[in-house]
Structures are given as structure tokens and as C-alpha cells.
């Protein structure tokens, strides 16, 4: 499988300014040396707690934000391999025909003053692909593909339910027939009963159109079922990447373990919860020294406080942990584990 998108060492920081003269008082490293690969035709999950930079990554790929450093290589069917970080306007416009975004909240990503025809047809109209009757036919076809009646074409989003609206967003994203779809938490604003429908629709469309998804999410349960590869991010850094199945069976990074342990399971009263991460996500403006996760990590040692671990390759996975080889972490199916011996040391470290 060739890589459709390759992110290499991308950095992005936002400066914090204060006072009337806008003096820079600090910076937030939203993305700190982020690298991962999205193979063509697969689904890659980008997970982490809120504020870890996963949405920033999505918008940087789409060109809404400009990366400070690094490369985002996109394999465009027409232009070949292009670096989106250095892309000029022409390349940007060209590549966007092949990459579209599905937004989190369909209530805010659909202009309430436009009909479905205008909304779904907008990308086609702007890029001069179709117009007039042909545009209408194409929109009707798209509506059918996402399971909406063509009678809705002249309706406004407010006349639809949340799930229907998200289908409109999906139809809009697919209008230009893109190769890559960046889905920014596409189901987190939906009712639980609608979430499964929407995911199934996305799966079906992927099979029909050989789509590639970059699936940004914080719901590990969904990521487990939906993605082929998972990228775990923590405070702007990638801490672990690897095939989803293997990672959920046996995570290599303590943060991955904590995330997996925090997935709510019916019938699981006590098991797993012990390993869920304690404490709050530290401020990205003032991240901890060394390994960012060390204040919350039950396995942390002195080296973790002092040295930033590198992203190491372990088999078909990579992990950013000093003790990846030594730790034996629990995955999703592992039985309840005895309390971790070093829990006492966390309370000592003052959390």
C-alpha cells in the first residue's frame, strides 16, 4: 500500500501575547514533531484527549493553519507527490479537490441560510466542475448515496435532524470525489443511536469509492472498530502509532494503556479503571519537562522527568517511551490486573 499522506516532523506553535502592545509572553506548542503515515485506502485514527493537537493537525493538513516546520506530503493523482507545507495557492487549490473535511458539529458547519442544493453543490460550483441542471443531478445522486431523499434538496438544514445534517456534511465532503477525507470527530456531536448509522455510512462509502480516512476522535471504542491504524497524541506529540488491533491488544505506551482502560464497558465495574490516567492534562503552554506524560504516568522514573524519549520503532509500531520494551501493559481484552505497585509513588510526587 502506498502512502496517500505522509506527515513528517510537523511543528506548529501559537504565540500567547498580552498587553496593549501584544508582547509575546509565551507559546503553545500545539504540534511538536508530529509524524505519521496514512496509507491509501485505509482508515487512520488520530486519538488523544482534548487539547492534544489532533484537530490542529487536521486543519493544518487542510491548509486552514500553516505549519511552522516539517513536511506534509500528499500523493496527488495529478500533481504527484507535493509538500502541502510549502504549497503555493495553485497547488493548494488543486490538492483540495482531492481532500475534504467532515466537521464535528453539523449544526455549525452548514450555513443555515443555504439550501441543501447550495450547500452540497457549493464545492462543485466554486471549482467550476458542474453547474445548472448537471449540478442538480449530481447533488441528487449524492443525497441518495448518503441515504437522504432527493426531495430534501431545496430544504434548509434546520428542517433536518442532527443525523441527517451530518449526512449532508458527508455528501458535501464527497461532492468533489476526494481521495482523502479528514473526519474531525464526525460523530461526537450526534446521538448514540445515530453514531453507528453514520459510521456504517462512512464505511460503505469507503468501500464504494476507495476513500482514505484520517479519523480524528477521542472515543477509543469507535477508533477500535473503525480504524486500521491508530496514532495516539499527547500534548502535541505522537506517543504511539501502530495497527489498531495490535495496539488495543497490547499497548506499548502507558498513555495508550490509560486511554484504552478508560473506555467504558458494560459490566465492567472495577476492572480497568485503576489504570485510567490520573490527574488533568497539563497546560500546553507550560508542558512538563522530559516525557510530557510523566506526571500522570504510574511507571515514571527519574529519566522520564529529565529526558524527552524519541519515537522508536518497535516492529510495525513506533512508541515514544523509555521503557516500551520493559513494560507489560494491559490492553482491551486483558483480565483485571492487580493494582499497580507504583501507585504510591504518584501520590508522593504531589498530584
Amino acid at each position: 500500500m502506498t502512502a496517500l499522506l505522509e506527515v513528517r516532523g510537523v511543528k506548529k506553535s501559537f504565540s500567547l501575547s498580552s498587553g496593549i502592545f501584544g508582547k509575546t509572553t509565551g507559546e503553545v506548542r500545539a504540534l511538536d514533531d508530529v509524524s505519521f503515515t496514512v496509507p491509501a485506502g485505509s482508515t487512520v485514527g488520530l486519538v488523544g484527549e482534548s487539547g492534544c493537537g489532533k484537530s490542529t493537525m487536521g486543519h493544518t493538513i487542510m491548509g486552514g493553519l500553516q505549519a511552522d516546520a516539517g513536511e506534509i506530503i500528499f500523493n496527488d493523482p495529478e500533481l504527484g507527490q507535493v509538500d502541502l507545507v510549502k504549497a503555493d495557492k495553485y497547488v493548494r487549490h488543486k490538492t483540495r479537490l482531492n481532500m475534504q473535511m467532515i466537521f464535528q458539529d453539523p449544526n455549525s458547519s452548514l450555513n443555515p441560510r443555504m439550501t441543501l442544493l447550495d450547500l452540497i453543490g457549493e464545492p462543485l460550483l466554486i471549482n467550476r466542475v458542474l453547474k445548472g441542471k448537471a449540478l442538480e443531478d449530481r447533488v441528487a445522486q449524492l443525497l441518495e448515496q448518503v441515504g437522504l431523499s432527493t426531495r430534501y434538496m431545496r430544504r434548509y438544514p434546520h428542517a433536518l435532524s442532527g443525523g441527517q445534517r451530518q449526512r449532508v456534511v458527508i455528501a458535501r465532503a464527497l461532492a468533489l470525489n476526494p481521495r482523502l477525507v479528514v473526519a474531525d470527530e464526525p460523530i461526537s456531536a450526534l446521538d448514540v443511536s445515530i453514531q453507528a448509522q453514520t459510521l456504517n455510512l462512512m464505511k460503505d462509502l469507503q468501500a464504494e469509492r476507495q476513500l482514505t480516512y484520517l479519523f480524528v476522535a477521542h472515543d477509543l471504542g469507535v477508533v477500535n472498530h473503525f480504524t486500521d491504524t491508530t496514532v495516539v497524541m499527547y500534548l502535541g506529540r505522537v506517543v504511539e502509532t501502530g495497527p489498531t488491533k495490535a495496539m488495543f491488544q497490547r499497548p506499548l505506551h502507558p498513555y495508550s494503556e490509560a486511554l484504552i482502560a478508560s473506555v467504558p464497558r458494560i459490566g465492567a465495574h472495577k476492572s480497568g479503571t485503576k489504570r485510567a490516567a490520573v490527574g488533568e492534562v497539563p497546560s500546553a503552554a507550560n508542558p512538563p519537562s522530559g516525557c510530557h506524560f510523566h506526571p500522570r504516568c504510574p511507571y515514571a522514573q527519574d529519566i522520564c522527568r529529565a529526558t524527552v524519549p524519541d519515537l522508536r520503532t518497535v516492529g510495525d509500531r513506533s512508541v515514544r517511551c523509555h521503557f516500551a520494551d520493559e513494560l507489560n501493559l494491559a490492553g482491551i481484552d486483558s483480565p483485571a490486573v492487580p493494582p499497580i505497585p507504583s501507585v504510591a509513588s504518584i501520590s508522593e510526587s504531589g498530584l
Partner: protein
């Protein structure tokens, strides 16, 4: 509102969906507006006012410059249904008037002549007039046969019919606000869009300019600007100059509100979605940002018109606004400046009632529009 939306959603079964009509945002807004009874009343009053201003020539019994010299300072002189004997007249009439000089005080005294009765007539021949310069006629809606006179609101010091002059004055007073608001909308909205979207040094400069115009005391600034209008200008030129003067002070707050809305909207998801679809800046502004601010802008505009009408009235009252031979409500009130006049001719204050009625109606309509502007909120 909710039931309509719910209908549309539950309309998935084919047969039912055929009959469901889907309301656009505009229709929803209109429905919500109609629920506010005060706003509807205000709107009706305004529609009547603007219609009568448009048809002033037809409705007014006399021309705006038509003088009745011998009947100057005449008190309102109304229609009667019952004559001096108590007999009922189905068609109302006015008594004839006679002017005599009081030998003691040397003042003009008007006495009613009971023998002369002039019944009210429809479509009488009067002074020729034209409506918008298109329709020319001399048929007026109502009047009495000469030499009878019909002065519903009395006459002024020069013997002109106040009722007719209020109708003609409405043409200026009611429209100068609209022209002024249109101007400040044009400047305010485009400035707000540009400064909100691009920011930077231009935004900074514009904001400081707005602050300066806002910090200026309003009346002196208006006076200073109005004083700049050359006295040689024609009535029409003065009219537009006054509306420009009025809009100078209002475009700023409008620009700020639009700017604030654009600042929050430009990072909204639907604007991002448009950008990720290669939408140009112009398209984002015109198709996405502008329509989203429009309902709010219209509300502000409606609430701004009254202050513009008041502004014109104030300027004309002070003699710096509309100049004769044009008429406006402010100019009519200008005649009632001295206490002496108010005591002797209190009916010259009647135009103020129309000013108040207009302002209140606009405020009611504005309130109704503000509530209706977002049809999705309850």
C-alpha cells in the same frame, strides 16, 4: 416553529413528505414577527404614513405652498355632522368663515357663518400636483367647494393649511432617515466586513476614526457639518447633504457590530468548510458572512431610522437642515419656536405628534424584528 421543523423531519414517509411545505428562514422570521402584535401595529402605522407621504398631493386638500392669506392663524376648523339646530347631516360639512377686525384689540377675529354650509366632497378639483413626477393630476381626495375652506389642523402664520403641510413634510422627514440609513448601511457594512475579516493596521485606523466620531458631541458636530452646506445649493442637494451628515455619525456603530459578528463568524465551521472548498475571499464574504449578519444589520438599521428622523427634525428646527420652500416636520416645528406662538397657535405643534408616532412605530417594528431575527431561538 418547532412543530414545523418536527413536521419536516417526521415527513420521511413519501406520501406525507409531498404535502409538507418547507419554510425558508425568511418565512420563519416573518411568522415570528407577526406574533408580536405591537410590532405589527407599528408596521401598519408606518405603511399608512409612507403611503400618505407618497400620495401627499392626492390626499392633502391643498398644496404645500398654497396660502389662504385672509385666513392666516386660523384655528383647526373641523367637520360637523350636526348643524346649529341639531339636525343630522349624513355628509359632514364645514361652516363658512368670516374674518373681521376687532375694533377694541385690532386683532383678526374669525366668526362662523351658520348660513354657509359646505358639504365634504370626494375627488374635488384643487391645485395641480404630481406623484413622483410620474402621475400628474389636479383631482384631490377630498375637499370642500370654494369659497369654503377645510383646515383640519388649522393654518400657520402665513395662512397655509397645516394638515396638507404635514403630509408634504412627511415626504422629506420620513425618507431622509431611509436615505441616511441606506448610506450608513453601505459604509458601515462594507467597513465592518473588511475590518473584521482582514484586521491589521486598516482595522486599527478605522476603529480609531469610529471612536473619534463617537466621542464627538453629536449636535455640535451635526451643526458644524450642516453649516458647511453652501446656501446656494438647491433643495434636493441640501436634502442629500443632510442625509450624509446624519449618516456620518451612525455608520461607525454599525461597522463595529458587523465587525464583531464577522470576527466570530470567520472562524466558524461553515466558513472554514467554504474555504476548504477553495471558496474565494469575496465569495466567503458575500455568500457566507454577509447573509449571516444581515438580519442583525436590518434590526439595527430599523432602530437607527428614528434617531435619523429626530436628527433631521432637530437640524431643521434649528434652521440648519431642510430649507424652504421644501417642507419637513422639523421645519414646521421651527415655526413654533417662540412661547408666544405656542400660546396663540398651539396647533402648530401638531407635527410633533406625527414625529412621536413615527419614532414609536419604528421602535416597535425594530423590537419585533430583533425578536424575529433569529427564528430558531424561542
Amino acid at each position: 416553529m418547532t412543530d414545523i421543523a418536527a413536521d419536516a423531519i417526521s415527513a420521511a414517509p413519501a406520501a406525507k413528505a409531498e404535502r409538507t411545505t418547507v419554510l425558508s428562514v425568511r418565512q420563519l422570521t416573518w411568522r415570528k414577527f407577526l406574533r408580536n402584535k405591537l410590532a405589527v401595529v407599528g408596521l401598519i402605522i408606518l405603511v399608512i404614513m409612507y403611503l400618505s407621504a407618497l400620495l401627499a398631493g392626492f390626499i392633502a386638500p391643498y398644496g404645500d405652498r398654497e396660502t389662504h392669506g385672509q385666513f392666516a392663524r386660523q384655528a383647526p376648523h373641523g367637520l360637523n355632522f350636526f348643524d346649529e339646530t341639531g339636525a343630522f347631516h349624513p355628509v359632514p360639512f364645514v361652516y363658512g368663515l368670516k374674518r373681521t377686525l376687532d375694533p377694541k384689540t385690532f386683532q383678526q377675529v374669525t366668526t362662523i357663518v351658520p348660513e354657509q354650509k359646505y358639504p365634504l366632497q370626494l375627488f374635488v378639483k384643487g391645485q395641480p400636483y404630481s406623484i413622483l413626477g410620474l402621475i400628474k393630476s389636479d383631482i384631490r381626495l377630498f375637499g370642500v367647494e370654494a369659497p369654503g375652506k377645510l383646515f383640519i389642523f388649522g393654518t400657520d402664520t402665513k395662512g397655509r393649511d397645516v394638515f396638507s403641510r404635514i403630509l408634504y413634510g412627511a415626504q422629506v422627514s420620513l425618507t431622509v432617515g431611509l436615505v441616511g440609513v441606506a448610506l450608513s448601511l453601505l459604509i458601515g457594512v462594507s467597513m465592518g466586513l473588511i475590518t473584521g475579516y482582514f484586521g491589521g493596521w486598516f482595522d486599527n485606523v478605522v476603529q480609531r476614526v469610529i471612536e473619534m466620531t463617537m466621542a464627538f458631541p453629536q449636535i455640535p458636530l451635526w451643526l458644524a457639518l450642516a453649516a458647511l452646506i453652501p446656501p446656494t445649493w438647491s433643495s434636493a442637494q441640501v436634502y442629500f447633504a443632510i442625509s450624509i451628515v446624519l449618516s456620518v455619525l451612525t455608520w461607525g456603530s454599525l461597522a463595529r457590530q458587523v465587525r464583531a459578528m464577522v470576527l466570530s463568524l470567520k472562524t466558524s465551521d461553515f466558513v472554514r468548510a467554504a474555504k476548504y472548498s477553495n471558496a474565494s475571499t469575496a465569495r466567503v464574504m458575500v455568500k457566507h458572512l454577509l447573509p449571516s449578519t444581515m438580519s442583525h444589520v436590518l434590526v439595527i438599521a430599523t432602530l437607527t431610522i428614528p434617531s435619523m428622523i429626530l436628527g433631521e427634525t432637530a437640524l431643521s428646527f434649528l434652521g440648519l437642515g431642510i430649507k424652504p420652500p421644501m417642507t419637513s416636520w422639523g421645519l414646521l416645528l421651527n415655526e413654533a419656536q417662540s412661547v408666544q406662538v405656542i400660546i396663540e397657535l398651539p396647533w402648530l405643534l401638531i407635527p410633533a405628534i406625527f414625529v412621536v408616532l413615527t419614532i414609536i412605530s419604528f421602535n416597535f417594528v425594530g423590537d419585533g424584528m430583533r425578536d424575529a431575527a433569529d427564528p430558531f431561538s424561542r
